[in-house]
């Protein structure tokens, strides 16, 4: 039994009924947690350059990302990152640490289905689309760049 008109009316009624939460606290939390994670990255980067003056800017940056990824992965494993995520929302999803969390959390969650079909397959349930769209779009950009270069 499907009645489009009735459904539309019901949907509109439900929308109006949904409790509205105040957006400001969550926006503020995402702002300062996100900012802090970026600040942490900058700190690691500057420290590396200070301790190893011969390190190239590029390597220092790569090490910084690896450090952040490790930290997020570890916090996910010990069950802390989801609590940060609950508090900060976008503040801990958008940084690279959120990417790391999205790979580690299913890897741990599905370990009981075995290493191959559990951990390895499910690892990319959330991060897979990120990597795929990133690669496809970057290849596309590269091709455009190549064609522009030819002209």
């Amino acid at each position: 039994m499907k009645n489009e008109k009735l459904n539309q009316a019901y949907k509109a009624y439900v929308e109006a009924r949904i409790p509205k939460t105040k957006p400001w606290p969550s926006l503020f939390n995402s702002f300062w947690v996100g900012g802090l994670i970026c600040l942490l990255g900058q700190g690691i980067n500057d420290l590396l350059l200070y301790v190893f003056p011969n390190m190239s800017q590029q390597s220092a940056w790569a090490w910084t990302l690896v450090a952040l990824i490790f930290l997020a992965s570890f916090l996910t494993a010990i069950g802390v990152y989801d609590k940060i995520g609950k508090f900060a929302g976008g503040g801990s999803i958008v940084p690279i640490t959120g990417f790391s969390n999205s790979i580690t959390s299913p890897a741990i969650e599905y370990k009981h289905e075995g290493i191959i079909y559990g951990t390895c397959v499910k690892m990319f349930t959330i991060a897979g689309p990120v990597i795929v769209t990133g690669i496809v779009s970057s290849v596309f950009v590269g091709i455009i760049y190549y064609i522009v270069g030819l002209i």
């Binding site: 969550s26 900012g35 952040l68 990824i69 999205s102 580690t104 590269g142």
Partner: protein, 117 residues
Amino acid sequence: MEYLWVFLIGGAICMLGQILIITTKITSARILVLFVLIGVILQAFNIFDPISQFAQAGINVPIVGFGASLAKGAMSGVESRGLLGTLTGGLEATSAGIAAAVGFAFLFSLIFSSKTK
């Protein structure tokens, strides 16, 4: 002063994600995809580097930086290896991040289990 910019810009980008979550009920996978694409586009139009100059980690730590690295890699790949570079460049530039994320996830999955919520 430099650190203030990092904090403000980084925080603002994350808050943009939160605004999307609140207004559109978007899931975290979609947020990550969207921000990677934003990074790719910023890099494609050469807008990313000028911002990165003063925002530094503020724009590189958010996943936007990951997208920009992919695009930047593909572009510099074209310069060094021609058409083949479009395929090799992007992953080359981001290999450390992807390998680290996958590697640590695998390692920790061997040791830890999901906790009681």
